[in-house]
Every structure is written in C-alpha cells, then in structure tokens.
Symmetry: C2
Subunit: 174 residues, 2 copies
C-alpha cells in the first residue's frame, strides 16, 4: 500500500475533526435548504429498536428566541440565526435520550460539512417544559437540547492527536 | 456556482449515508490501528460541560464475549471480532447517557469510513452490572451500550431520500 493511501485510510472523518462548539455567531442567515440537509442527517442516525420517532422544530423568530433565552440564558441563543430543537416520543422510544444524542451528533457533523458552526446547548430538566410550551410541542415528546446553528464569527482549531488520550483505551479489562 | 459544486455542497456526509446496523459479520479480524482510530473519533465528540470522562474497553477474547453473550444475547456478540464498550464517569459527567451516545455515533461513522460494519447494541439497565463485572469496570462508571465491530458479511443499502420524512420538520411551532 502506498504511504498516501495508508495515510488516507487511517484519517479521521474531516467533520469529526472540525466540529467545535461555536459560541459566537455572525448575524448572516442560514438558508432553509441547509437546515433541511442538517435535519436529514439527523433522521439517518440510528434509533433504539428503530422506532424513528424524532421530530424537529426550527426556530428563527426573534421573539421566540428571546423567550427561550429567558429560560436557558446564553447570548448565542439570540445571536445565532437558527435554533433546531429535536424531540422524541418518550412513550414509544425505549431510550429517548440516546435517540436524541445520536441524531444531534449527526446534525452537528452535517452542519460542519456545510460550513456552519453549531453548539449543543443542553436543556436542564427544569427548563424542558418551558421551552416545549414556546414551541407548542406535545406532552409525550421529550427534548434534551437545542442545536444552535449559524456561521461562526471565528474559525476554531480542529481536533488533533493532542486531544487524544490513548491511556483511556483498556484492552480486555479496565 | 457550477451545478456539480452545488450538488457537492448539499450532499449528506458519505458515512452518515452508509452507516447501517450490521448484524452478520465475517470472521476476519480488525487491526488494533483501526480500533484506535474509531476510539479517537469517539474522544472527539462533544461531552456535557466538556468533562471528557469517556473510557473505552476493547474486548476480543472469545471467552469474555461468550460471557457477555450470556447476558445480552445476539449471535453477533460472539461472531464479530471486536466489541468496544464506552463508559462515562457518572459522578462527574452531568449527562453520561448523552456523552456516551454522541461518542458512539462518532465511532459508528468512523468505523464506516474505515470500511467496517457496526451495530449499536443497547444494554438494558439490568444487564449493565453483569457486563461491567466481566470487564472489571469501576462502580462509578456507566455503560449504556456495546459497539460491535467487524467486516459486514453483506453490503447493506445506504440511506437515501426515501428514508427522509420532511413532515417531521416543524417551522417555528409544532
């Protein structure tokens, strides 16, 4: 095998390296097409027992963002042009949190592929019902986070081997 | 913008399209280098409050796999050459399940990039302590799944727009 082929073979997926938590956003809008691609990637994530109950609310309205900000804080909630809130039917999914987290990771990576910045804003359990009320989500659906989407103000450094801790790999037993 | 560039721009990440749950594996072994790359990708996933407490146990020993099979069932546990069990310190992470699921999704995608098949085998809460005992994981670490890794017996079809449900996107409100 040629050296370049070997290098390529072992390379970490570009978007996994480049995905960073972006906390400062430009005011530039993000097109509906890009948001659809991000949500599509979320729908292609595995769900527990393949129940596929994920739904997604896209918030751009400044008034709604202000209401959400009043619950969860963080200036980026208002500054970023788009918030995506994924929800899972907790009466059907055997593991809503797992479904939400896997889909979210796909969405963060897909946004990175499209040149967008994101941050995974967790919802404290006591914030969930207030946020669900603003977006009029049904009682039987669970939300654990808000995916903040926009163009990053500054380019953040990609992950590298400096972030890798080989001592956290245990062979056969801890 | 040229049509090809536009097409490229809106394309879903190849590994997100190609990741499928593989339940039949060849007996071919998977090198340590490839497993390291997969775990590295897992370590580059975001963790709640950036606590980064993920650890990974790699099981290849046939006797240990049989013991795990006796708890969780599924022939692929014995047939696939490698099991990776990610664990998170539940005393430190504010959201262990989220950390585990996001890292797992990165690992499934990275394995796909390396030409490997995977399946996300969930651990029922009543199975967790038995599996942790086999791998000698500490009490304060949580496991929610086993990542099964190997070469797929059959190539499974990639995701496509047929798997995409646009009606699950809600604008501003549900």
């Amino acid at each position: 095998m040629k050296y370049e082929d070997k290098l390529h073979k072992f390379m970490i997926i570009k978007e996994i390296l480049e995905r960073r938590s972006v906390r400062e956003y430009k005011s530039d809008d993000v097109s509906e097409e890009l948001i659809t691609e991000i949500i599509k990637a979320g729908q292609f994530a595995p769900t527990a027992c393949n129940k596929k109950t994920l739904e997604f609310v896209v918030v751009r309205n400044q008034e709604a963002k202000k209401q959400i900000f009043e619950i969860v804080g963080q200036d980026f909630i208002i500054e970023a042009p788009v918030l995506i809130i994924p929800l899972v039917n907790k009466e059907i999914s055997p593991c809503p949190m797992r479904d939400l987290a896997a889909a979210t990771e796909n969405m963060l990576l897909q946004a990175t592929a499209l040149g967008l910045g994101t941050v995974w804003k967790s919802l404290m359990p006591e914030w969930e019902s207030g946020v669900k009320k603003i977006i009029e989500a049904p009682e039987n659906f669970q939300a654990i986070n808000i995916i903040v989407v926009g163009f990053a103000k500054n380019k953040l450094e990609a992950h590298s081997d400096a972030d890798f801790a080989s001592q956290k790999i245990h062979v056969e037993k801890w």
